[in-house]
Amino acid sequence: MSLKTINTDILIIGGGPAGLSAAVSAYEAGARDMLIVEREETLGGILKQCIHSGFGLHRFGEELTGPEYAHIYISKIEEYGIPFMLDTMITELKPDKTATAVNSADGIFEIKAGAVILAMGCRERSRGALSIAGSRPSGIYTAGTAQKYVNLLGYMPGKEIVILGSGDIGLIMARRMTLEGANVKLCCDILPVPSGLPRNVEQCLNDFDIPLRLSCTVSKIHGKDRLAGVTLVDVDESLSPVPGSEEYVSCDTLLLSCGLIPENELSRGAGVIIDSKTGGPVTDENLQTVVEGIFACGNVHHVHGLVDDVSIQADIAGRAAALYVGA
């Protein structure tokens, strides 16, 4: 069977912050033959929709927005002439570092790589995975998907908002939705302490007098076609609902910021062993997985709090991959 094949020394799966940083550092370590494969229409990954500032202080000494941080790396990619493919999905990765890819222009083809850097990022925990009881109306989004509607597409998911989960994405969206004119009624979290950074609790909730209710979660969703409200319930130390503490809050939008899950389906297919604690590949100090020549970095490895840390980690993977292919 003759399938179009592309050969490359280093295949980087994902053109978000991890993939971009890894590519740049591999180049700076001497590698030249590489290919970044990105499923979206442009490079930048999740940074494209993170229009808020707070990135880059550690890495570049200045506070940048997500797109500005991406811009620095994309400029380097262009300056170095590092090859990349857009609108291309990797559907399979084998232990021998052969990947199957598909896009509109080339159809289904193969990429044979000397080394692979896994940089696919993560997905959000959905309502279904949280098993929140009640009806299934529209109006329920993970915070990141809502962020995409607002920041990339220009649509408002809703007007009267409740946020479940005080992770940074939820806090950031509390501020964003408020600035765009929505009424964020409250943010609640099942844990007794906020999951996001204190600075985000301050500038996203306190700045706008949005209440933060800890040890509190959503126990039921109400609404026929569109969300009409949620039942909040307090929880005890064992995170069990406290009977009698139920409170109905009317709203038309529920944003979920309840955890990120590294996206390792491709990794598993390649024989990479996943650490059940992090959800990402088991790696050595060079970020090499148990499969020789396959490296991992960024949120696919474990969920990072700051993109600066992603870049630091991706640098290691990029250099290690360059060394591995003999650059």
């Binding site: 609108d87 997905r123 279904g128 009881a133 529209s138 597409l153 076609d225």
Partner: protein, 477 residues
């Protein structure tokens, strides 16, 4: 004026409309929801039962066994998925063992083939995932899996491709008898036909009442379900049941046609015919029962939960009768409704024919319909040939389920045409994967908007008031 109006585009209405179209009838399907398969049909156990469970001599028994035999060929014609994996009804104690021998006997009388009781040592060879407490099981090799809404959508599409009409968002509130037949109305809209088939699911009693038939009542029985990631699809290789009780067949643990693991249902009699909410008690009940049947279920891999309503009648059997000339009730179609649906269609056709309606098989009836999922079954060369000609098949929209833009566009352009995100979900599986639409939904909305000419901001989740976005940014809220 139509020959037949079918009220309800669930699995029974769909199969009946299609068969009657095949037999020369001009059919109009009236559906109250914005899409087909929106009631019980999209939220049930998806099993094509072997038929050992129904009371011998009942309509349920006769139509289940007949439907079970017909289903594989119907699935093939309609291009939908079908997997015959067999079922096991497990015994956890002496009471259960007695139930199993009753089922074996009933099955024999009903004409079910291949039934056998397996002792534990044989059982674990066949199904190693069975729980340690299970003593023995009834094995029913003819039990099969389908995707009920895929089947329904394809049957309606097939009927429409052959000339049947479909009117959505048509909530029947009046039926007037005339000398030519019936005038069926919804607000200021109306359709007239010689015959009416009442396939209105949980509302079948209310439709019957519109023509003065008050002989039966329907009460909704809610069942909750859990779906687990495809990673768990190999937990069992058969559909594993516990012994049935007075509320129904009980919780099952089964792979689905698509490779997910499926658990449920519960059974709670409720009053609200619109209440498909899930409950914490329901989750807990499913989990507790499932682990008594099968071991190694990884509950951390739940990706979705939902509930559906069965139309439970007050007679214990299906209610398929003709209280007035030309008016047929297809009511109280609870389990084994899905399995029986093709046979129910035959039964209705025969009932109409006996009452004087001429049934003539149409030689031009095109029985076969192409699967909306056929792209994924092609070889790489075949796929590349299609992508070269139609590049949208090379653009993957749903990463979790691997669905391309080309397949989504085909679904949008095929009868019955969807107009909302859930309609795409049920036709293509986009959004049914582990990220539950988090990645693909913004793209799906764009495709729907483009193809249907509706503004991006006006696309809904499932019609009605279920808009996904409420206005644009940069406007006064």
């Amino acid at each position: 004026m139509f020959d037949v109006v079918v009220i309800g585009a669930g699995i029974c209405g769909a199969m009946t409309a299609r068969l009657l179209t095949e037999y020369g009838q001009k059919v109009c399907i009236l559906e109250r929801c914005p899409d087909v398969a929106m009631g019980t049909t999209k939220a049930n156990s998806s099993i094509v039962h072997a038929g050992f469970d129904a009371e011998p001599g009942s309509l349920k028994a006769r139509l289940n066994v007949r439907g079970s035999v017909m289903m594989e060929e119907i699935a093939r014609q309609l291009g939908v998925k079908y997997r015959r994996i067999g079922a096991l009804v497990v015994a956890l104690g002496e009471e259960d063992k007695k139930t199993l021998s009753d089922l074996l006997e009933k099955g024999g009388i009903n004409g079910v083939s291949g039934l056998e009781i397996l002792e534990r040592d044989e059982l674990i060879k066949l199904e190693p995932g069975i729980a340690d407490e299970v003593l023995c099981a009834l094995h029913a090799p003819t039990s099969a899996l389908v995707c009920p809404y895929e089947l329904c959508i394809a049957a309606v599409g097939s009927a429409m491709d052959n000339g049947a009409e479909l009117k959505l968002s048509f909530e029947v509130d009046k039926i007037e008898r005339t000398d030519k037949g019936y005038i069926v109305g919804a607000g200021d809209k109306s359709v007239s036909a010689r015959c009416v088939i009442n396939c209105a699911g949980v509302y079948a009693d209310e439709i019957a009442r519109l023509v003065g038939d008050e002989s039966f009542s329907i009460r909704p029985r809610r069942g909750e379900y859990l779906i687990l990631d495809k990673e768990c699809g190999n937990t069992v290789s058969h559909t594993v049941f516990r012994c049935p009780d007075e509320m129904g067949k009980g919780v099952l643990v089964t792979p689905t046609v698509d490779g997910n693991l499926f658990l449920g249902p519960t059974a709670t009699d409720i009053d609200d015919k619109e209440d498909t909410s899930t409950t914490p008690e329901g989750f807990a009940s499913i989990r507790a029962r499932a682990v008594s049947q099968v071991k190694g279920i990884d509950f951390s891999k739940i990706i979705a939960s939902f509930a559906g309503l069965r139309a439970t009648g007050n007679t214990g059997d299906f209610i398929i009768n003709m209280p007035l000339e030309g008016f047929v009730n297809v009511a109280a179609i609870e389990s084994p409704g899905l399995s029986s649906a093709p046979a129910i269609a035959e039964y209705v056709r025969d009932m109409l024919e006996e009452s004087g309606v001429e049934m003539r098989k149409d030689p031009n009836f095109k029985a076969e319909r192409k699967s909306l999922h056929r792209f994924s079954t092609l070889s790489i060369e075949e796929k590349n040939a299609i992508i070269a000609d139609r590049p949208e098949y090379g653009h993957i929209v749903c990463r979790c389920e691997g669905v391309s833009e080309g397949e989504i566009l085909e679904a949008i352009r095929s009868n019955p045409r969807p107009s909302d995100v859930d309609g795409i979900k049920r036709r293509t599986r986009t959004g049914m994967g582990r990220c539950q639409g988090g990645f693909c939904t913004p793209y799906v909305i764009g495709l729907l908007a483009r193809e249907t000419g509706v503004d991006y901001g006006e696309i809904s989740k499932f019609g009605g008031e279920s808009l996904i976005n409420i206005g644009r940014t940069k406007s006064d809220l």
